[in-house]
């Protein structure tokens, strides 16, 4: 993120604990004005809890939340200039669409004529003109979704929080709404904080993705970086498909390292941001489309496998190659001619710049223990 961007939401050292359950660990996160930030992770990773703490429905056990530089973590929801689009839409069933959308304005005691004007304007924005008199029960899922968004946006919030808003829609509608939401966000310039467990959704819509894993923020970066340079094994596994090998550093020669797998050797690359020691455990992650095979041995690589099965998924051909220790390596190709044949015995290799080396968690724990021994915390 460039320096001239203005922070709008700042989360500082936030922890959330329910009984024995530590849901959010030491979270530090800054969201900038006009940004589309997605919190991505499997269910139970704490992403919704973070959203609810920004919205004011939960109080952090520890830490602070700032909105436009003002501390808000102890304020009630109605005192915060953020609005939420709930997963279940939470439309008021006893009010028609007009009354639902105008609810926030009514609470702010906006004049009748201005209310009417603004509701009309926002209905136009979400393409629901003429639906004023209908009740939520008379709308389809997609329409309810639009009403929920309109009801939140009419208050002109600084930040819009969206909690899996497309979760209940079918695939086709979801894809349409993804694009629509992204366009809406660009048009209005409002900061969106979006929670989802759908990685594809996160990759399509976001400016930045925050990947949550069991209450920890594993990585916060652009979709490209998250995909190309996953920071943890979890991220590599969660975003797209990945082949993950547990390896040990055998030899370091310049920026090339030789790593040992259970079933052979391979090469990888290190740079100034990633240094390793001899005999250190690292994960080597390679995307299926980056895996290469050869009939003859390639210099630096000694991994041998047998092509076991092939699956056609539309325009992609996926092959599974089984190694001698039973690990299955996934390989994908766009062209049938480039895919290996079933039954072939092949050498597996990759271009050194295509492998991502990741410190193993064991190594991090080692660091923590070391740190504690030296008197740090």
């Amino acid at each position: 993120m460039s320096e001239d961007k203005k922070p709008i939401v700042e989360i500082k050292g936030v922890n959330k604990i329910y009984g024995d359950n530590h849901v959010v660990h030491d979270l530090n996160l800054t969201v900038y004005e006009g940004e589309f930030l997605t919190m991505l992770g499997p269910s139970g990773c704490g992403k919704t809890t973070i959203l609810r703490m920004i919205g004011g429905f939960e109080e952090p056990t520890e830490g602070m939340i700032y909105l436009e530089g003002e501390r808000v973590d102890t304020k009630e929801p109605f005192q915060r200039n953020v609005n939420t689009v709930f997963q279940s839409y939470a439309l008021f069933p006893h009010m028609n669409i007009f009354q639902n959308i105008a609810y926030g304005l009514k609470m702010k005691k906006v004049s009748k004529s201005e209310m009417k004007e603004r509701v009309e304007e926002i209905l136009h924005l979400v393409q629901l003109n003429g639906f004023e008199k209908r009740y939520p029960s008379q709308l389809s899922g997609g329409q309810k979704q639009r009403v929920a968004i309109a009801r939140a946006l009419i208050n002109r919030p600084k930040v819009l929080l969206l909690d899996e808003p497309l979760g209940a829609l079918d695939l086709k509608l979801r894809k349409e709404m993804q694009i629509e939401l992204k366009n809406l966000q660009k048009k209005l310039g409002i900061t969106f904080i979006y929670v989802t467990h759908d990685q594809e959704e996160a990759l399509t819509m976001s400016d930045r993705i925050a990947i949550m894993n069991q209450g920890y923020l594993d990585q916060l970066d652009t979709p490209e970086t998250v995909y190309e340079r996953p920071a943890t094994r979890f991220v590599a596994d969660f975003i797209g498909e990945s082949n993950i090998f547990e390896t040990v550093i055998n030899k370091i020669s310049g920026d090339t390292v030789n790593v040992g797998l259970e079933v052979g050797n391979a090469l990888g690359l290190i740079d100034e941001n990633f240094s390793v020691n001899m005999s250190e455990m690292v994960y080597a992650c390679v995307r299926p489309e980056k895996i290469k095979v050869s009939k003859t041995e390639v210099k630096g690589f000694t991994i041998l496998g047998k092509v076991k099965e092939q699956i056609y998924v539309g325009n992609v051909i996926k092959s599974n190659i089984i190694l001698v220790n039973g690990q299955v390596v996934k390989l994908s190709r766009m062209d049938i001619d480039e895919a290996p044949k079933i039954g072939d015995i092949v050498y597996i290799y990759w271009d050194v710049e295509d492998v991502v080396l990741i410190k193993s968690r064991g190594f991090m724990i080692h660091n923590i223990i070391e740190n504690a021994r030296l008197g740090g915390d």
Partner: protein, 289 residues
């Protein structure tokens, strides 16, 4: 052949299971009701029923003395319902918002008196409210009052007895509707800038109104017929429709007129239930279907 036997196979257990209920309902509900309806068109010789068709009983319903009794009954029923709403709703609201443990305790407090006959419980009130009862003795000994208060055998005492007997019928349906209220709607209301009071007035109250409505019907209707409450608490001084009907069957020995009064009461109740249904009420909330 095989089809026929298969059919019989299904019919026999079906008949066996539903016929006892059907017979029960026919004998104990439908037949007496029909008999009451039939009786309401008969006459009396002052002691026995005379089987001669006439409409005099229905004409007699509009007698000014009786109109006064109807008015009394409706006033008592109205205020009983109102007090039950004012006391029952907050109780139900608190019950829905407290923890599981407190909820169970409150529910037990509500249900245990149910297991004791209401006649006994009402007579218990007599020992508290009577001239030489607990309350008066206490107030006298403390010197707050000079002579015993006339609490029992007043309209107020009847009202108290009615509210005491009927309030669970308000608490249970309102509790059910508050408890099943979707919490995210309240969160959404807060999110859109409403404080707690506004959220209650604009979201909670309208959405739990069906509970209040069905509770009201379940209190208003029995109130018209609960003769024993005004017998015990009102000392027979304040006559209600229920007492009037009771008297026709027991003291006055005028069964046909008593039957006509009953038919009128049933008709009133049916009209109220019809209004309830028409205004979107859920029959399940009444425990009817």
């Amino acid at each position: 052949m095989s089809n026929g036997s298969k059919k019989r196979k299904n019919t026999v257990p079906l008949l066996a299971t539903i016929s006892p209920v059907a017979i029960w309902l026919l004998l104990l509900v439908a037949a007496p009701l029909l008999y009451v309806f039939f009786l309401s068109f008969m006459a009396t010789d002052g002691y026995n029923v005379v089987f001669k068709f006439n409409l005099d009983n229905y004409k007699n319903l509009l007698n000014p003395t009786y109109l006064e009794i109807y008015r009394n009954s409706f006033i008592i029923a109205f205020f009983t319902t109102l007090i039950c709403i004012l006391l029952g709703y907050p109780f139900a609201y608190i019950m829905a918002s407290v923890g599981k443990r407190s909820k169970t305790i409150m529910m037990i407090m509500l249900m245990v008196p149910f297991w004791t006959n209401s006649l006994i419980r009402l007579n218990g009130w007599k020992t508290i409210l009577g001239k030489t009862g607990v309350l008066n003795s206490l107030l006298l000994s403390m010197g707050i009052i000079g002579e015993p208060l006339e609490i029992l055998y007043t309209r107020g005492a009847v009202l108290l007895g009615m509210v005491y007997t009927l309030i669970p019928y308000m608490i249970l349906p309102t509790f059910a509707s508050i408890d099943k209220l979707d919490g995210t709607l309240l969160e959404a209301s807060g999110d859109l800038g409403a404080n707690k009071l506004h959220t209650f007035l604009h979201v909670t109250l309208p959405l739990t109104f069906p509970g209040i409505f069905s509770g009201s019907i379940m209190i208003f209707i029995p109130c018209l017929g609960f003769f024993f409450v005004s017998d015990i608490m009102g000392g027979g001084k304040s006559q209600l429709i229920g007492n009037l009907i009771e008297n026709q069957f027991k003291a006055a020995n005028n069964w046909p007129f008593g039957a006509a009064l009953s038919v009128m009461l049933i008709a009133l109740i049916l009209i109220m239930v019809a209004i309830y249904k028409k205004s979107g009420g859920d029959m399940e909330d009444l425990g009817v279907m």
